[in-house]
């Protein structure tokens, strides 16, 4: 493995820019028996909250055309148990750990961030864009004032770890939110979370998801994600992590061209856990064949 994939993002050195997306890779450990997770650039773990959260009632998922809906509802073991039980095991692997986190209130966001700031993790990813829980989450991500407030409040308590804010695609203008994050001191932006969608079983006449609506992810949403990553890149100076429908190395190059410095691979981990590793290998080959010394040379170079 050459240095072509080495990526510095928010001052952190990733061996490659391929990170598995929050909620699609558990706490990393679930995949450890299926693939060599040490080969990944990093892992963004399932969204963590102050207290253990039970998530939504079942059913929570449904496949749609080239995508899926989910309304897991941010089920997680809580920050304490995460740090005590999951993190030490995950730390045995040679990969960066990004902790995705959320709160029901402003204070909860601050509280979790404070705890994680002291923990053995590499970076925080603040989820203000989960469409599947009533309190918190989405509310912070669809009102620019609240986006600014939660970001600056959290940023104030962080002494050690960079803060990345994850944006919602369910807004009229993502640029406003990107700017609010930057103004509030965020170190990076990740985009996008899922699109709010719905599907109904015509036989039972009930929604397929108990929560009625769910988040749409997968290859179907890639064009929306590419557009929003590009808009974000053009708006802010902080780095952007691109997410949404990525399923092969070509998609990684596409996200790089529109401005992403690193990328998260989400739903396709379910399609085949080997995909992120395959992407890393094939991306390396592409860069080598095209004599591109580092993927970062492509960032934002789309010709418009």
């Amino acid at each position: 493995m050459s240095d072509r994939l080495k990526t510095t993002f928010c001052g952190i050195e990733f061996k490659n820019p391929i990170i598995t997306a929050s909620g699609t890779f558990g706490y990393g450990l679930e995949y450890a028996k299926h693939i060599d997770i040490s080969k990944l650039g990093g892992i963004s773990v399932k969204g963590i909250s102050l207290k253990e959260a039970p998530g939504n009632p079942m059913p929570r998922i449904m496949e749609t055309t080239s995508g899926m809906l989910n309304a897991i509802g941010l089920q997680n073991v809580g920050v304490e148990k995460f740090i005590e039980e999951k993190l030490p095991v995950l730390r045995k692997y040679d990969t960066k750990v990004i902790v995705n986190f959320w709160g029901k209130t402003l204070d909860e966001y601050v509280e979790v961030a404070k705890i994680l700031d002291e923990a053995d993790v590499d970076m925080l990813e603040m989820n203000i864009s989960c469409p599947n829980i009533k309190e918190g989450g989405i509310a912070f991500g669809t009102d620019p004032k609240m986006t600014f407030e939660v970001t600056s409040r959290v940023k104030k308590v962080l002494k050690n770890k960079p803060l990345m804010v994850k944006l919602s695609p369910n807004v009229t203008d993502i640029k406003v939110f990107a700017k609010a994050c930057e103004d509030a001191g965020a170190d990076a932006i990740s985009a996008i979370n899922t699109l709010l969608g719905m599907a109904v079983n015509i036989h039972t006449r009930k929604p397929y998801i108990s929560n009625v609506t769910g988040g749409l992810s997968g290859p179907a949403i890639k064009p929306v994600a590419v557009r929003m990553v590009h808009e974000t890149f053009k708006t802010v100076k902080i780095p952007v992590m691109g997410i949404g429908g990525i399923s092969n190395w070509q998609d990684i190059v596409e996200f790089a061209l529109v401005g992403a410095s690193a990328m998260q691979v989400g739903t396709v981990n379910f399609v085949d856990p080997q995909i992120p590793l395959k992407i890393i290998d094939e991306l390396e080959s592409y860069l080598t064949a095209n004599k591109i010394d580092n993927l970062s040379l492509l960032t934002g170079t789309v010709k418009i």
Binding site: G26, P59, M62, I72, N201, G218, D272
Partner: protein
Amino acid sequence: MEGKIVRNQKLNDKYYLLEIKCEEFVREAKVGQFVMINTRHQDYTSDPLLRRPLGVADVNGDRFTLVYMVVGKGTMLLSEMKKDAVVSFSSPQGSTFSMVEKQRTALLAGGIGIAPVYWLAKALKDRGCVVDLYYGGRTVDDVVLLEELKENTDHLIVTTDDGSAGIKGLVVAPFEENIASYDIVYACGPKGMLRAVSNICVKHELPVEVSLDERMACGLGACLGCIIYLKEGDSVVQKRCCVEGPVFDGSKVVWDTVCQG
């Protein structure tokens, strides 16, 4: 993992039997487990997207067998796969049925629930158990592989809702009549049936293991899309159908929280 299709046999208008050669898989597989199988013929297409969970219905030498019902895109695509085609799939996933020895066992299967029960019957016979299989379906089309099942059970009791094969009625009825004859009960089928069987067994203080279906995205414990709620002491805990299941202690399942249909 990958394997070559040995046969993909149409059993009737709804059901297929798929035999795949893959030694690695067979080595790991245990009775009650399932596989996440890629149903797409080409990996460069994205519809359908996710792999589909199917119970392991048998293993033979370096081959394993799946029995599936065609219900949607994924299973339709599977049914169009040809001999010698290569398919990809996960390693064997999930919990297993308890392998008792020399006991009197009742197995209940409803419709496509027969898949994991088929292998279970064989395995229990091999361990010297008495194996009675109660097998129910809507119509004669929903009870398949009867010859093979007869060979691997002591009694095969077939029921259909419309009486087009075996006894007319639900499969739990004849089972309940004979309930005194059993040490342990295993079941796989529609959730309503599993609930009924579990309740009966609890009443008679019989151990009961049920294999549950739940929509799955990852099939390996990461997405939390497949939760089953279990009683544990005084509290209710969440289990993942794909890791802690699909086989659960039927007396512990909180049936009101289990998805319908």
